[in-house]
Symmetry: C2
Subunit: 237 residues, 2 copies
Amino acid sequence: MPDSTQLTQFPRPSVAVDTAVLCPVPGRGLHVLLTHPGDGVWQLPGSILRPQERLAEAVARCLREKARLVDRAPVQLHVFDQPDRDDRGWVISVAHLDVLSTRDVGFGDASSPETEPDPQDARRRKLAPVHSVRELSAEHQEIVRVAVHRLRSLHERTPDPFGLLPDEFSLRQLRELHEIVSGENLQADTFRRTMLPLLAPTGRALTQGRGRPAQTFTRRSELALRSDGEGDQGRET
Amino acid sequence: MPDSTQLTQFPRPSVAVDTAVLCPVPGRGLHVLLTHPGDGVWQLPGSILRPQERLAEAVARCLREKARLVDRAPVQLHVFDQPDRDDRGWVISVAHLDVLSTRDVGFGDASSPETEPDPQDARRRKLAPVHSVRELSAEHQEIVRVAVHRLRSLHERTPDPFGLLPDEFSLRQLRELHEIVSGENLQADTFRRTMLPLLAPTGRALTQGRGRPAQTFTRRSELALRSDGEGDQGRET
C-alpha cells in the first residue's frame, strides 16, 4: 500500500461541488436556481473544493456566497467524472440536490413568484424553468437533468419528500405540489390511492376557496433530506 | 475563472473508490464481500483512481482483480470525505453499492452458501455478516453501514429492487428475500398489501415443497440498478 509520499506523486483530479437548487413554482412549473459570477455565464452555484474543506462545507459556502441561501444541507446527487467535462483540466464534480419553495429562495410575490425582487441581485441569481437551461454548460445541463429525474423518482411514492408543504395539508395541496414536480396532471383517484397509506388524517379540515372544507393530513413517511443516515459520517444513528 | 495552470497549484485530494458488495444469504442473513490484498487486512474492494480513469472503470477493475467479479455495474452510494479517514493523506472515497446472490458471487452450495469453495481463493475473498465487520477499518465499516441502510430503504416499498429473484416468483419467495435484507421477520399480510400493487400476476403457479401451488408474479416496478438515468452521462435517456 503506497504511503502518502507515493500517493501525491500520482496525478490527481481537482474535486468540485455543484448544486442544483430546484424550486417548484406554483403555476409556472419546476425551476432551477442559476447564479452569475459577474463575468462569465449563468451556472449552478459551485466551486473547486478548498484544501481540507469538507464537501458539505464547500456546498454551504457556494450557496451562501453565490446564491444568498443559508442553513441549507443539500443531499449528494451523483459524482460526474467525464474526462472532458471541464476545460480547466481533470475535474470531477460531486453534484448536490436541494429543493426549496419560492418563499425559501426569497423570490417574488404571488403574481410573479419566480422573479428576484432586488434588481441588484437579479443580475446575480435567477430561477429558470428546468426544461429551458440551454444557457448552462453541457455539464451543468446534465446535472439539472439528473436532479429532476431524482426529484421525480422521490415524489412518485412518497408524499412531499422534501417537506415543502406545511405540517398539515389537504390532498389537493399535496397533488398540486406533485403535479408541479412531475410536470403533468395526475389522476386524482390514483394519486389518492397511492398516497393515503402514507398519510395520517388530522381530524381537522381546511377551507379552500369556495369549496367545502377539505380534510387535512400529516406525513407518515420520512423526509428524503438527511433521512439516509449519510449526512454526517461522524454522527451516531 | 482559474485556468488549468492555476488549478493544479492548489492541493488536491486523492480520489478512491470502494465497493460494498452485499449478498443476502438464505438462512444466514445479509453478508458483505471482503477481499484480502495478501499483505494487510481484510477490506472492501477498492483503489485509488488512476490518471484519467473513470470511477466506473476503477470500480470494475477492483471487482475484477480483487473479487473475481466481472460485468458488474455498481451504483454510486455516497462520497466519504472525512479529513482523517485515510492515514496516507487527503483521500476522498466514492463508495459504491452492488447486490448479488451467492450464486452470482460464485460461493458455496446449499449447505454452506457463504463459503468460498476454492481454498486458494478463500484467503483472498470471503463473505462476512454485515453486523460483524469489526475487522474492517472504521471507514469501511461506515461504508457497510450506509450501504445496508440504503439497501433496506430500497426494499421497503419496492419488490426485489436489484432483481435477485427469477423473473417469476411467489409472494413467499419475495418475502423471504426481503426478510434476509431487513434482518427481521415481516408480517405476511402487511407485506402482501404493500407489494401487490407493484406486482403483476402471471396466471401461473409454482409448486413449493408440500404446500399447495403458489401464484407467481413479475415485477411492475423498475430495478434500482441503472434506473436513475445516471449510469452514463453521455447516454441519451
